[in-house]
Symmetry: C2
Subunit: 513 residues, 2 copies
């Protein structure tokens, strides 16, 4: 027989920054008291890290005591081997002896030997020890790791194969199990990811091949595309007559995480499928997916560039700013709704001031500028070229040029056909080294190259009321870019439409016409 | 080699009632012009059916002409064999000759012989013919069908195995292919569902075993839990070096359907997993899942009852209404927000009128009635017992009784522990034969048994502004129940809080205290 370990709180914490409401946690542990799952992995133990990380990243003693009072299951915590040395074992783990049954160690196979030293310290403190060794699809080619595999025998009670990229197939599971068995005699476990929706079949295969323990999470909540869904594994094993349990308990805990899922939207999608199928790390993909200004298209483009060697990248001519017309200033257009609301006033302002260049940070509002006579620059980050095309159809403004980020562009290069002869790249983002591939950075660098004393801005409205995490993130990025721009240049930033960015000086477009 | 058929519009139509916006359709066909998919199944052809069914259920000639002008792919329509006889073939199909390349026939294996007759008529009209034979997991035990299988050879160009329940595993795919091959020599196809997230692995297995054609839909859009995702299949085949294509085209069409998915919420979930793993029909599950008052819990309970023989059902005593206290009227409490907003007034009204019974159609507002001295009846449909428990904790009102629907209850029986001795069932819903398992039907039947002249109602607020399809459906059900109640009884219905139900006479709770 085999055991099931549910690691929803630990792996789901990647989405919630390891905070969960008291009610969620209570429902979770009470439900599992009625379910045939032997181990619950509740979080990490860790030395203090920079930045805020929640309750279940540190699992302090009172938190574990509270869990212990709710749960009749074996509790598990995990250590990140890269951040934990053997001498950390005692201070991190002694306080939780008696509360936690098993300590797992997440291990890069490159550090396997070092991990064994840590594991022995953990074992001395009386815990069951689990190895979670990552990147199983790469093991066959890691000679040193394979040579060291026999060391696992004394050090760990269970040896997990982790499908870090979500890219393995059932046959790979079989092959890896055979490979490990040929080196060391130890109970095996399997932790699958769901990029290609192969979490279930890979796990069933692992069980069939004799694995002693498998991981799953409720609704698949977990880093990136997430994991095998606990409810799917239990339902299938129930239908096969291997387990019986209270579906109401299962349903109650699934309901709670289904609601969370609607907010955080974990699960697979095209970028995660591409990263899984091509065995690319999901960390980047997860960061890109969570940013609003990277469309799926751009991300897939970037992934393809990564897997196939920048095929989608080519150098463009640098824009020679000295040869551009002489302007007295520029109007930078963001993607907020105000430029459309005030388009008549903005058009009049530009007609009155033909020596103001228009720089579109986002193409979203470009259509409102179709008839202005001024020179226009369109900043094309990632997928923005497609947006420009869909905004304008195939008749772009004559006085228009495209500006792309410096080469090489990780999000690739797409320029609408009609603009191909008018596309240029910047040589460098000079005023900041953060978020250099954002729309705002490209637009402000373009303006900077012209050497104006002041810049007009519209469409950087900011947000009001309840905003999503993505909006919050975009807002914070813009704040940091504006502050870097002000710190490193002498240029005045004047917003002519409403804005909640305090870094911008606020005036009204109606005072200017 | 094998071909791919995308049937997003045909199978996704189960969610949209076969209507899709012009923009969605345009993006769909334009994107597929750049993708390595040979066939696009766009919908059904059908004799006129009762009720509204959209554009892609009938695929009239102008619709197909429009599609033809957008697409460079082979187009496919499907016939529902159960509704189409051989003599219908010519009137349905002759008008679309030249527009459509392949006609598929969805076949219950029980009607296989009849389907072959239809197929021959279709073939005469010059179409490629596909058989989509359902319930593949049951074939091995259908002797007559197996005996008739050789008839497929002359009649169809391709013979699809359809995993109707979403319950087959890769080994089942292999076994079924071997079974069919042992009876008839014909190119095979596979149409998988995704209840257990086995769509991909089953399809890859089918390809490996020599299938000539496989189905998929964008984002898996399709009846119930949906299908193998086209983007997943293409991504995997691309990573395996078997296909190359424009990921931007794929991403554009995925984006459009991802937005639709957020509204319609197709895809697997716990009820679909249970129905798949136990090979139960998904039609019921899909209907239940789309109704707001069936929680997942109730549905799983119902599915378990179906698969395991009503284990969760038992007879309760009938409530003897003659032995209940004498009331002059009742107040029926719905689940809208107004009872909480006006709880002080309602409490005063009930204190002033101790001979008014309180009947809770929903337990949502029960907490606001905790302190009223009146007798209370809680109608427990499906999962409502859990809600009652979670509302009250374990201290339910002393003067409280539970009323359950008539036996047998398809959603099972759950009564909070503390109420077990005070739970009764109704013998019959008499005033209507529609929606007899809804909260409102139970509450109004309870009131009817008492024989009042008029009934007070609170919390049937109805909806304002933009409402979801589920809310609309619930609203319509209540309208029909109110109308049936008025038609079949002499009882006056007086709403004391705001209501948008025109069937209720509107007064104010503040005029009664």
């Amino acid at each position: 027989m085999f055991n099931i370990l549910d690691c929803t709180l630990r792996d789901g914490g990647y989405y919630t920054n390891w905070d969960f409401s008291k009610e969620t946690v209570k429902t979770y542990f009470e439900a599992f008291n009625h379910l045939p799952v032997e181990y619950l992995e509740v979080g990490y133990r860790s030395n203090p890290m920079k930045g805020y990380l929640g309750e279940y990243f540190y699992c302090p003693v009172p938190v574990l005591q509270q869990i212990k009072s709710l749960s009749n299951k074996k509790l598990v915590i995990i250590l990140n081997e890269k951040d934990v040395r053997a001498e950390d074992a005692e201070p991190l783990l002694k306080p939780i002896a008696g509360l936690v049954d098993m300590v797992r160690i997440a291990i890069d196979p490159k550090n396997f030997e070092r991990a064994v030293v840590l594991a022995k310290e953990v074992k001395k403190l009386g815990f069951e020890v689990g190895f979670n060794v990552m990147y199983m699809s790469t093991w066959a080619s890691q000679k040193e790791f394979l040579d060291n595999l026999p060391l696992a025998a004394g050090a760990a009670d269970i040896f997990y194969m982790v499908d870090s990229f979500g890219g393995v197939y059932p046959q790979d599971v079989r092959d890896t199990i055979a490979l490990v068995k040929s080196k060391v005699d130890i109970p095996l476990g399997f932790h699958g990811h769901n990029n290609m929706e192969l979490g279930l079949i890979n796990t069933l295969t692992a069980i069939e091949e004799g694995c002693a323990m498998v991981d799953a999470t409720i609704t698949g909540m977990g880093r990136g595309a997430g994991n095998l869904k606990t409810e799917l594994l239990l339902t299938v094993l129930n239908a096969q007559g291997k387990l019986d349990f209270d579906f109401n308990a299962l349903s109650r805990v699934v309901d709670v995480f289904t609601d969370l899922q609607k907010y955080y939207e974990w699960g697979t999608n095209l970028p995660y499928m591409v990263s899984g199928a091509n065995s690319l790390p999901q960390k980047n993909v997860m960061e890109w997916v969570s940013k609003r200004y990277y469309s799926f298209n751009s991300i897939i483009r970037a992934l393809n560039n990564t897997s196939k060697g920048q095929q989608d990248n080519f150098r463009l001519p640098l824009l020679d700013f000295k040869k551009e017309p002489v302007f007295k200033s520029a109007l930078i257009v963001g993607g907020g709704p105000s430029p459309v609301e005030h388009s008549d006033a903005i058009e009049l302002f530009l007609k009155n001031n033909p020596k103001i260049a228009v720089i579109h940070a986002s193409s979203k509002n470009a259509m409102s500028f179709k008839n202005v006579p001024n020179q226009q620059y369109f900043c094309l980050v990632g997928n923005e070229g497609y947006r420009l095309e869909s905004v304008f159809g195939y008749s772009v403004p004559k006085k228009g040029k495209c500006i792309l980020p410096p080469y090489p562009r990780k999000m690739g290069t797409y320029i609408p056909d009609s603009m191909k002869d008018n596309a240029y790249e910047l040589s460098k983002i000079r005023f900041t080294d953060q978020f250099t591939d954002s729309h705002t950075a490209i637009a402000f660098q373009t303006a900077l190259e012209f050497g104006f004393k002041s810049l007009y801005i519209v469409g950087y409205d900011g947000y009001n009321g309840v905003i999503s995490e993505k909006e919050q993130e975009l807002f914070n990025e813009n704040v940091q870019l504006f502050e870097a721009f002000k710190k490193n240049t002498e240029i005045e930033l004047i917003s002519l439409t409403r804005t909640s960015y305090k870094q911008l000086e606020s005036q009204s477009i109606y005072s200017q016409i």
